[in-house]
Symmetry: D2
Subunit: 339 residues, 4 copies
Amino acid sequence: MIIVVKPGASRDQVEKILGTLEQFHLKAHVSEGAERLIIGVIGDKSRLPPGALELLPAVEKLVPIMESYKLASRAFRPEGTAFEVKGVRIGGTELTMMAGPCAVESEEQVDSVARVITSCGARFLRGGAYKPRTTPYSFQGLEKEGLRILRTVADRYNLLVISEITSENDIDYASDYIDIIQIGARNAQNFRLLSAVGKSGIPVMLKRGIAETIDEWLGSVEYIMSEGNYKIIMCERGIRTFETSTRSTLDISAVPVLKSKTHLPVIVDPSHASGKAQYVRPLSLAAIAAGADGLIIEVHPNPICALSDAAQQITPDEYRVIADEVKAIAEIIKRTYPQ
Amino acid sequence: MIIVVKPGASRDQVEKILGTLEQFHLKAHVSEGAERLIIGVIGDKSRLPPGALELLPAVEKLVPIMESYKLASRAFRPEGTAFEVKGVRIGGTELTMMAGPCAVESEEQVDSVARVITSCGARFLRGGAYKPRTTPYSFQGLEKEGLRILRTVADRYNLLVISEITSENDIDYASDYIDIIQIGARNAQNFRLLSAVGKSGIPVMLKRGIAETIDEWLGSVEYIMSEGNYKIIMCERGIRTFETSTRSTLDISAVPVLKSKTHLPVIVDPSHASGKAQYVRPLSLAAIAAGADGLIIEVHPNPICALSDAAQQITPDEYRVIADEVKAIAEIIKRTYPQ
Amino acid sequence: MIIVVKPGASRDQVEKILGTLEQFHLKAHVSEGAERLIIGVIGDKSRLPPGALELLPAVEKLVPIMESYKLASRAFRPEGTAFEVKGVRIGGTELTMMAGPCAVESEEQVDSVARVITSCGARFLRGGAYKPRTTPYSFQGLEKEGLRILRTVADRYNLLVISEITSENDIDYASDYIDIIQIGARNAQNFRLLSAVGKSGIPVMLKRGIAETIDEWLGSVEYIMSEGNYKIIMCERGIRTFETSTRSTLDISAVPVLKSKTHLPVIVDPSHASGKAQYVRPLSLAAIAAGADGLIIEVHPNPICALSDAAQQITPDEYRVIADEVKAIAEIIKRTYPQ
Amino acid sequence: MIIVVKPGASRDQVEKILGTLEQFHLKAHVSEGAERLIIGVIGDKSRLPPGALELLPAVEKLVPIMESYKLASRAFRPEGTAFEVKGVRIGGTELTMMAGPCAVESEEQVDSVARVITSCGARFLRGGAYKPRTTPYSFQGLEKEGLRILRTVADRYNLLVISEITSENDIDYASDYIDIIQIGARNAQNFRLLSAVGKSGIPVMLKRGIAETIDEWLGSVEYIMSEGNYKIIMCERGIRTFETSTRSTLDISAVPVLKSKTHLPVIVDPSHASGKAQYVRPLSLAAIAAGADGLIIEVHPNPICALSDAAQQITPDEYRVIADEVKAIAEIIKRTYPQ
């Protein structure tokens, strides 16, 4: 950390800064610029009461040098993270395709989607059993019955299951049915849930909070990793901006930014980002072209009758077209598309 | 809800829209404008699969007429909501002052703040026992011991306790110590927690999510109210914008907007909004002048040694100055300042 | 336009609304929903004083049905716009590649870039002669000498010139040197400049304002088109959000959204959007995969010595790699790459 | 400026950084932290090609120490700026009230407003003659005739005129009619206009761009000041955020932030910020309570018939109420209300 001292600060005021650092067992490295005095702080900054230095009258600003996350940082694993979930590899050169309905409604519904996506290379079946909805009057999901359906259908097609959990109290039960736990955008900074998922050791896909900076998102990852669970996928699903033509604004730049900041695999969710079926194809292709490690796409056999978010779900036929184009782009940028 | 039909839609396509409405037992009211065909939809829209109509090719857009919240709406209680917590009135003409340290650190710390704020009219003691922090390496709060300290000190000064809960699993325990449960910005859409707090019947202060629109915030309120708990305070604490001079951007307009949209009391948190002690005074005065029903302010006997968010905590002496000015402004706008 | 009437509005208040409409020669179409009275307004709404209806006490809200732009709307030219600039076609299936240095510094500098981009299919040479800079102390461009250099080099390689104009007073002079006038993000709502450029009849590339919604952007386009100039390219260059890892957030969804809202060609600027050379490649590929009609990329023979925005300029060698990958993706999505 | 070196950078890479600094005649001050090597850069950074250092492979990030504005900085005039416009003082302890219709429509309209505001202490008459409108089909203002009306009415009541200019070409003409030139939000970074206004020497009120950070806004101020014109008022008029209940989000914190960053007077425009007449009163009081040096408010004798922005204009009677309350709050915070 670097302390920029206000112009015109008195000698006493500077001494007060240095004394405060000493009090917390930190070393100071003073250097005089043309227009400002700069103090470099060396040592374990976590000893320092957060915000304390800002209160000293001679402090103009503090400049952090290190990120606040460590395990999530690229420097922790420069070669990148790839891992296996029940024999299916995620990360590395491999692309990962996840698809399924927004909400689980019935076994028939899930089966008809699972059949198609399996034939197009997807290895993960998604589907919401616990649905966080903006209003309490909307369909909240089939809950346990939903998980049972997902598992049954997934086993039939040799797929793995990814589904959202919204409370630490559901982890035990869900772990019998789910291969990857999804943490949704609304719980992206529910640190109690993140810690619990970290302790569970179950692979996690952590969606970005709707207004989370990339650095804060890596802070959320750190909550999971610091419990010893390193099997984490980060999922970009759009951020909130002033633009309302799409539900969220897909932050496509987050893909290469994450590739430079962290070692973890990055997946893009074009369905939630746009909220409109017609934009799922262009955003899917863009995500892969930008270097994403995979996609999670909402597919429904009959979107018009879906119990949730009909507008953003595509049909199995539309999924086939996207899968073919993704495969072709994968070749150009030297990625492996799942067989 | 109103359906705007695309220009050039065929007769068949319009029939398809009308047929879909009929299928879900909704009535249609067609009207032909100069440039667009408009279909008014009458009946219980919750029968309609969400998003389904957007998928019909002739639909240009849907326009909601009603808000998605009901109990939180001003129309539900046009006269406004005022309620008592253990004999202390919140809402109406009364201003409510809440103050205390960011995090509970020790009984001495809390006591020295409580003594001063009591003498200036505050009736609620705040203090964090469970601290959600952006990184797992920061101080996470004294937890149960923190609650015990708050209760002890509050009882000594005849204050009531408001403190944050971050998991549904803590409600039972906390209810022995807390008079108002605070739900923080990061859990603003943790619907499981909102429902659980609703069921508990304990008064709640619900902070705005960092990127929550006012309408979404009222949707979160609805989760609590729909469980039968109507003792809710809404707390504006700043929203995320592109501006970084302050930690968040205090949405001062939210105060009068909420006054027109809902019947619930509105409190402003200038400490978290700005993140800087030097801005707490101007923002406190602005909030009261704008019509807020009260303030929640972070006060620490010795901010520079605080274990969390030192930069935004003011001293007891600074609090006194603000309280006096708030009192004077209260008179001008015909509000009652607590004795 | 639709007027939603407040619940509980009196008969007199509703009559007042109807009377106001009549006063401005508009027809009303009243329909009674389950919970709200709705008034459809038919006729030329431009006669109505803007904002007047909102002031009537019984009006809950107004819902616009039509967009405020007409000529820019897809409905105006459903088949899409393609046009020629001195024999070079823009729009349609053709991809357009524009490249060149951020700022024109010298003839040698521009020449060395022009040579390479020409060999990779670019037909437009870009380069800033008038540079709008956030601080008055930065390099402001070579101005007239810059335009002369651009023209000289472009003619040598049979390229066309695109360059930014920042004042209506420069149009006459610039028209001797420039084939496409670029309007930058900071002047995106400088309506005087837009009208002047519209009157000039010179083809225009209009960048999106940093916080302009897509609908407002189309309103800016309308200023140009309403003067009779229809040769317009829209350029997405990133919007301002809370995320700071990139200079702006490239709104990749704007590409398909514009394809559905307007008939005009859409080009993406990955250099300004990200502000970092290392992200130009992934964002370029993403833009083309998402359906953009072309790219404008900053290339500098020796970025480290550039007089402006060195960080976002790539080398000619890096440009070659991108051009090859763009060409390969173009084939997959059935676009024509320039020979 | 400080250069943070990447962990694991080779000795050669560090030498390359140092060599680059030397090449541009800058001194380096290297210091080794626990986890990072830090290089302080001393000397005239404007010699350095902007962005050049970021391109060196060993550079992790650059940290600016100094702001990019100088004349606008508080340090330039720690005592604050107050100045006179034709005998009327702006800044210091004095509050400045500006009011008038959104757009000038007729002499009668302006007169009826001017009479009332004069009697309530306003010394400046505002009114739009050149109206920048989002669509070319809206009323664009009376232009020259509008300026003539403003001047005539202002002289009648001994008021001064503030009005918006949208092109450098209008300055000469307007200077015969206007006492303070207003630069609107859409031209906040129209640097050509800013420089021209700077050269004119006429007092300027510079509105904040809709997505301008406070630091960028001070950069715009610097454009005017660097031409020698120091009579500048900064006007906070709301920023663009995701919230749509109000047209913009009034950044009330900008008032105290500006007070600490710059010496210039700060005025708040509650009318444009909210876009709704009903919110003008609470936001006006909040602005004064937060420390603003004044208000600019839209007042119309008959808002419902206004030719522009009817929804945000209040009546002269409503203005009287606000003026009285502002006066009372002014006393509390020791400000002088104009007689």
